[in-house]
Each structure stands twice: as structure tokens, then as C-alpha cells.
């Protein structure tokens, strides 16, 4: 019964935190307007925001809720004192289980769907001689123009029409764009989004998607002529109507924001690119270390406070 109560309380705290943080992120992310920041950093920031609710609720649950229950909750239950699982934690605990099951189902469904579609596209595919270490395959005509598929072993699929339509330089740049997505693990990130569902997050995910496309454009291009070639490839491939939509866990070269991307590429300027600030990963280290130190020092009182709050939930 003790373990069961512990699980119910932990799940309740997890689901409450997850929903509260997700609602806060969904409402507040638009206030974030990074100017003069590299698109790669914007994409990283948006990804961090999108996954923050899940990450924070898991960390808080395992670092505070579970230990506070184990250390401070009496093992024996006095029903007269109200030491039993209330209807609310039971219901919320079930909601949490439902949320976890739903998330797992979404991930599995996305992976299975992608695998099925990609297997069909790969029938009769042959390697493309590009000199790159990543597997690049020339696939069926009904496949999207250029697509990055797979999470663990990513591949770049290039349709026959694309090879026929693009010049050598244009094709190389389009492939570089997809390789930039691969290096940023964008397919894995899309799968992570499937694992943390919450209503109202679609726009944040689209903003991330746009930023990641622009970041991949930036990574592919290193001169003005590269930028023009990539823009030309984008315009040419936008004319191809895909017979079949790409699965969720795949990244296509042609996206909805074609005109914005072309305009941006045509205005490409090395000095402008160099001026943009990149938010480095180590920027987050000092605040994380400071927070960890603070929590370590005040761990006892924090656990007591957490326990008080969970007691209030249980009763």
C-alpha cells in the first residue's frame, strides 16, 4: 500500500507539473523574440522550451517527490488520520499513466508508419555517388524530392526527378542541407516532440521546424554563389508535387516557407552571418551549477516542503 501510494503521489505530481509547465510554455513562448541570433541557436532554444515541461517534471518528480515520500512519509497508515489515497491523486495518477501510454503509442506509431513508407520508397533504390559518408540513395519517383529518413541510421533519399532536375552544384548543396539536419539530430527531435503531447504546442513546433530549416540552409551555404544555387534548387524542387506525403519522422528539403527561404538566401551576406550571435551550450552551465548547489545546500528543507505539498494532494 505504501509503494502504491508513493507511485500515485509521484504520478500526480508529475502530471500536474507537466500540464502547468506545458500551459505556461504554450502561452509564453511567443514573447521570445531573439534578434541577431543564429538560426541554429533559435532552433535549439525552441527545442529546449518545447521539451522543458517533460524534462523539468521528470527531474522534479525523481529528485524531490519520490525521495520526500520515501524519507518523510510514515510507513504505517492511519486511516483515521486520513492517510490513504484520495480520489484526486488516484484520478490524476491514472491520467499520468494514460499520458505516458499515449506518448509511447505516438512514438511507436510514428516510427512504424515511417518505416513502412520508407521501405516502399527504398524498393529498387541504388546508392548515389556523392562521396559523403552518409548513405544517400536514389529512390522511386513518388518519394519526396530529397528527404532525410531514420533516427538511428539516417539516410538521405533523393528521388529520380531531383537528380534529373538539379545541376551538380545545386544537388550537392541540397544534400548538404539535409546533412545539416542529420548532424542536428532533427529527426530524433521530432520523435521527442511526439513523446510530449500537449494541446497548443503545434505553433511552437512549427516555429522550431522553420528555424531548423533556416539553420540547415545556413550550415549548407558558405558563399553567395552557394546561396544562389541552394535557392535555385529550392525553387526547382518546389515545382515537383509529391505523390506521397513524407512521414512524421522525416525531414524534406522543400517546406512551406519557400519564398522566405529564397529571399533570405538571395540576401545572404558573409558579414551578416558572422555578426549573428550563437548561444553556446556552455552558457547554461553556470545557472545549472548554481541551481544544483542551491538545491544541495537546501535539500532537507526543500524535501520537507515537497512533502507538505504532496500531503496536501493526498488528503
Amino acid at each position: 500500500m505504501f509503494a502504491l501510494r508513493g507511485i500515485a503521489v509521484s504520478l500526480t505530481c508529475f502530471v500536474l507539473l507537466y500540464c502547468l509547465l506545458s500551459a505556461a510554455v504554450a502561452a509564453a513562448w511567443r514573447a521570445l523574440k531573439p534578434s541577431d541570433v543564429a538560426q541554429r541557436s533559435v532552433a535549439a532554444l525552441l527545442f529546449a522550451l518545447r521539451t522543458l515541461p517533460l524534462l523539468a517534471s521528470v527531474v522534479i518528480t525523481f529528485a524531490f517527490v519520490v525521495p520526500s515520500f520515501q524519507r518523510l512519509e510514515p510507513r504505517s497508515i492511519n486511516i483515521n488520520l486520513g492517510e490513504r489515497i484520495g480520489a484526486m491523486p488516484l484520478a490524476l495518477g491514472l491520467c499520468a499513466l494514460l499520458l505516458i501510454a499515449c506518448s509511447c503509442f505516438r512514438v511507436i506509431a510514428a516510427q512504424t508508419g515511417a518505416r513502412r513508407v520508407v521501405a516502399r520508397w527504398l524498393e529498387g533504390a541504388r546508392p548515389l555517388a556523392t562521396g559523403a559518408r552518409t548513405l544517400m540513395l536514389q529512390s522511386k519517383p513518388e518519394a519526396p524530392a530529397i528527404t532525410l529518413v531514420g533516427v538511428r541510421k539516417p539516410k538521405v533519399l533523393v528521388s529520380e526527378a531531383t537528380v534529373a532536375l538539379l545541376s551538380h552544384d545545386e544537388l550537392q548543396l541540397a544534400l548538404k542541407h539535409e546533412l545539416a539536419h542529420m548532424q542536428a539530430h532533427d529527426n530524433l527531435k521530432k520523435l521527442v516532440f511526439r513523446f510530449c503531447p500537449f494541446p497548443g504546442m503545434v505553433k511552437l513546433e512549427s516555429a522550431w521546424s522553420e528555424a531548423s530549416e533556416l539553420a540547415a540552409d545556413d550550415a549548407a551555404v558558405s558563399s553567395q554563389s552557394d546561396a544562389v544555387d541552394l535557392a535555385a534548387a529550392l525553387v526547382k524542387l518546389s515545382r515537383l508535387v509529391p505523390v506521397e506525403a513524407a512521414p512524421v519522422c522525416a525531414i524534406g528539403f522543400v517546406t512551406s516557407s519557400v519564398s522566405e527561404r529564397v529571399a533570405r538566401l538571395l540576401a545572404w551576406d558573409e558579414a551578416n552571418k558572422a555578426r549573428r550571435v550563437r548561444i553556446r551550450t556552455w552558457f547554461v552551465i553556470p545557472p545549472v551549477v548554481a541551481a544544483s548547489l542551491l538545491v544541495t545546500i537546501a535539500y532537507g528543507p526543500v524535501l520537507a516542503l515537497t512533502h507538505e505539498m504532496t500531503e496536501w494532494l493526498v488528503r
Binding site: 544562389v228 535555385a232 525553387v235 515545382r239 519564398s259 529571399a263 538571395l266
Partner: protein, 146 residues
């Protein structure tokens, strides 16, 4: 050319007349107004009662809100121009899809219109790309000549 608006969810009263549109435009620029305030602007050359009747009609069509102010009413637009435009577009699409015997036919018109629009946009983008390419080539030539 006179444009006509269709009204939110009211298939039976489909359009706004030119004077109704003019009054609505004036109210959007004012924010809110009484009949007297609209006339005081000097841009509407109609009788007081005509303006009053028109505003009352717009109120009944669900486009204006009103509150009593002395012996008159103060009218406020219920929707922004953008909201009205959006709903109007949706209503037009709904009517288009609902018309005709073959249900796929209006949809094919829509797809055709969108494809034409896309093709035009891509043609424009293609021109921009080619122009930029020419510029770069010319710059390269100038550099080589130096």
C-alpha cells in the same frame, strides 16, 4: 468596383450594401461612434435617419454592438476587418464546396487556383534567382578584368 461582404453564419442575408460597408469602415476607423459623431465627420452625406437605420440594420445583422448613451446609441464594431475577411473567405469556400452536383468539381477549381498562384510565385522567385546569378557573374567578370 463595389465589393460586397457576406455576413457571419447568415446564408439568407448574404451581402452588405455599399453604404453599409461605408458606415462599417467609418466605425472601424473611429473605434466606436454615435450617429451624430459619424455625421459630424463630414464624410457621410446622408440624412440622420438613413445613417441611423443603416446602423440599426448592421446591429441586427450581428456586426455591431451598441450601448445606450443619453437618447441615442453608441455603436462599436463587433469584429475587426481581418476577422470579417477571414470568416468571409471561409464562408465563400464553404459555399463553393457546397455548390454543384459533383462534389469534387469545386474542390478541383480551388486546387487549380492555388496551383496557378503557386506557379506564379515560383516563376517570380525563379526570376529573382536568375537575376542574382547574373549579378554575381557580372561582378566576377569585373573582378577578373581588374
Amino acid at each position: 468596383m463595389t465589393k460586397s461582404f457576406s455576413i457571419f453564419g447568415r446564408g439568407s442575408t448574404p451581402h452588405l450594401g455599399p453604404f453599409e460597408q461605408q458606415v462599417l469602415q467609418k466605425l472601424w476607423s473611429h473605434g466606436s461612434a454615435t450617429v451624430r459623431e459619424l455625421l459630424a465627420d463630414g464624410k457621410i452625406h446622408q440624412a440622420y435617419t438613413t445613417v441611423m437605420t443603416t446602423m440599426d440594420r448592421l446591429y441586427k445583422k450581428g456586426l455591431l454592438d451598441r450601448v445606450a448613451e443619453g437618447r441615442a446609441f453608441r455603436y462599436t464594431p463587433r469584429h475587426t476587418p481581418q476577422e470579417l475577411q477571414r470568416v468571409n473567405a471561409l464562408e465563400s469556400i464553404r459555399q463553393l464546396l457546397g455548390s454543384g452536383d459533383a462534389s469534387s468539381l469545386p474542390l478541383s477549381y480551388l486546387v487549380e487556383a492555388l496551383s496557378t498562384h503557386d506557379a506564379q510565385l515560383l516563376d517570380e522567385l525563379q526570376l529573382l534567382v536568375e537575376r542574382k546569378r547574373r549579378e554575381l557573374r557580372d561582378q566576377e567578370k569585373i573582378r577578373e578584368q581588374r
